[in-house]
């Protein structure tokens, strides 16, 4: 599948990764090649095959309803690039 630059730009926006105009073309070519390569899967007849979501051995385990975590604000904020008065801070979002 050949991607066009607009699609790649759109994907980059979805993924929140800034791409410069100069990067867009070579990246588009690269991604197109990779996607074409993975498309060989279309050769496989998968009619009636249930998708395999996981190689995990068991069924979904569940936990008891007990407070066993949290109460560690310093640990939570300790790596924050910016924090103030117990909050993380980010540039303001306009709604």
């Amino acid at each position: 599948m050949a991607l066009d630059k607009a699609t790649v730009a759109h994907i980059a926006a979805l993924a929140r990764i800034r791409l410069s105009e100069a990067e867009l073309e070579p990246l588009t070519n690269e991604l197109s090649r990779i996607l074409s390569w993975v498309e060989q899967l279309n050769e496989v007849d998968t009619t009636g095959v249930v998708p395999m979501a996981s190689a995990a051995a068991a069924s979904l385990p569940m936990r008891d309803d007990a407070v066993s975590d949290g109460g560690c604000r310093d640990a939570i904020l300790g790596n924050a690039p910016r924090a103030a008065r117990g909050f993380f801070t980010v540039p303001k979002v306009v709604e």
Partner: protein, 496 residues
């Protein structure tokens, strides 16, 4: 005991030496700290932790003196910098985790420390475990301690656990932790002439391991011998209620599996692994492997794994889709790098553009694409169906045979810089390793011989889910038969 001799002891031997009090844990740790420093040109470590190593060694010595030794007491190991280690810089080889000191310890490393192991430092890797060369790290490429005789060009250590493998091979660690998502333990082990095991999915907990592809990530051990790896696995494995995909399966004594007896075992030789352009030397090594196992009393069986050629594209769709979502949390808000811009959206975009390397960016974009509206069925769902067929292949095969013998990689280590411009060429490094990740079955690589240009080549044994014992036992046989005694050009303590 002089340094090189001490460094030359493998894990089992060092464990015995400590028990015999031939040397103390502190001596061992000190020697290894020096080795780590000496091995700096290899760039196998991002963050050496020599002080911590000594403190842990001292604690081990106290227990050793009291006769209360823990299973791995005093054993110095390297930790792939994908495992979160409490208060110790953890980077995943990425600029985006700059300065990140986790307030928690991964389950696997916690188990190792509780077993008495000593942390030498955080080992270098491909960024976010994405790669098969360990050349994509923000912290620079890892160099393979092996070089082609008469050729000065540095070689890749394989990836993504290249730092772990290089450290072990260079005698700058006794063993190491790695993770294997598409071959990232086995392939670097093969390139570095040592042993690497990808256990069954869910055998080792993923809690506290920086996630790449959740359904494909397998933490596992890297060591110099099959026995060493068995010992490490025993300490690393175990059900973890904090990881919902962790297997509720008991941990057995994997060392005991090394009985040396494989009479009557059926070994599958899959014809589809004989790929086009298979180097003659690898084909020859594979045949030698078959002979070794036959001589030990096993029965080689020709088998077919028809879906083999589709494993790589299947893997890349699934892994990249999951990765694109797992890496969304790296956004400059709560930890790591933040690049300010004009408002929030700019902050996200600039942070991630600056923080992710080219390979990571490629993979996140493709992953985002294959999950996006209109393409989910065609790519992701399709890949999950093919994955089911691949798993079915293995299940059917394991009714005819007890394990499978193949080469680990389609080549020996290549020169740093070669191939890395071509993503697909790089992806092909994983062609023999990827199927086991998709099916979740255990697989090990052991060094079996040298290539024509004098570099290590590995053979791989794949087994049934949760049958690491058979995998280890057969690997032990191969190891004995191969008698791989070659050493890399760089070896800590050897003064070269």
């Amino acid at each position: 005991m002089s340094d090189p001799a001490l460094l030359a002891l493998n894990l089992a031997e060092a464990r015995a030496g400590l028990a015999r009090k031939a040397f103390s844990a502190r001596e061992l740790a000190t020697t290894y700290n020096d080795a780590v420093a000496e091995a700096k040109p290899l760039n196998a470590y991002i963050t050496p932790t020599p002080e911590r190593a000594l403190a842990m060694a001292d604690a081990a010595d106290q227990r050793l003196v009291r006769g209360e030794a823990l299973p791995l007491d005093g054993i110095p190991i390297a930790v792939k910098d994908l495992f979160c280690t409490k208060e110790v810089l953890t980077t995943a080889g990425s600029h985006i985790l700059e300065g990140f000191h986790p307030p928690y310890e991964s389950t696997v490393t916690d188990k190792l420390w509780r077993a008495g192991a000593v942390m030498l430092g955080k080992a270098n890797l491909d960024e976010f475990a994405m790669g098969s060369s360990s050349t994509t790290s923000w912290y620079g490429p890892v160099e393979n301690p092996w070089r082609r005789p008469g050729d000065n060009r540095p070689l890749v250590a394989g990836g993504s656990s290249g730092g772990s493998a290089a450290a072990v091979a260079a005698h700058a660690a006794l063993a190491a932790t790695g993770t294997d998502t598409g071959g990232s333990i086995r392939q670097p082990a093969s390139f570095c002439g040592i042993v690497g095991l990808k256990p069954t999915y869910g055998r080792c907990s993923r809690w506290g391991v920086v996630a790449f592809a959740s359904s494909l990530d397998h933490p596992g051990p890297i060591g110099r011998t099959v026995r060493d790896v068995a010992i490490m696995l025993g300490a690393m494995a175990g059900h973890d209620p904090k990881d919902s995909t962790s297997a509720p399966v008991p941990v057995t004594d994997f060392e005991k599996a090394l009985t040396g007896d494989i009479r009557g075992l059926r070994v599958g030789i899959p014809k589809e692994y004989r790929v086009d352009e298979m180097p003659r030397e690898i084909e020859a090594l594979w045949q030698r492997g078959v002979e070794w196992l036959r001589l030990a009393g096993a029965e080689p069986v020709d088998i077919s794994l028809p879906m083999t050629k589709y494993a790589l594209p299947t893997y890349y769709i699934i892994a990249l889709a999951e990765a694109s979502s797992n890496l969304a949390r790296y956004d400059g808000v709560r930890f790591g790098l933040r690049v300010e811009g004009d408002g929030l959206e700019e902050m996200y975009e600039l942070t991630r553009a600056a923080g992710f390397g080219a390979e990571v960016r490629r993979r996140v974009l493709i992953g985002t694409y294959v999950l996006s509206a209109g393409y989910y069925d065609a790519y992701y769902l399709k890949a999950q169906r093919v994955r089911a067929l691949i798993a079915r292949d293995f299940a059917a095969t394991f009714e005819q045979v007890d394990c499978i013998l193949t080469p680990t990689a389609p080549s020996a280590a290549f020169t740093i810089g070669e191939k890395t411009d071509d993503p697909i060429a790089m992806y092909l490094n994983d062609v023999f390793t990827v199927p086991a990740n998709l099916a979740g079955v255990p697989a090990i690589s052991i060094p079996a011989g040298l290539s024509d240009d004098g570099l290590p080549l590995g053979l791989q044994i794949t087994g049934r889910a949760f049958d690491e014992e058979t995998v280890l036992r057969v690997a032990g046989i191969l190891e004995n038969a191969a008698s791989f005694r070659h050493l890399p050009s760089f070896l800590a303590g050897a003064g070269g």
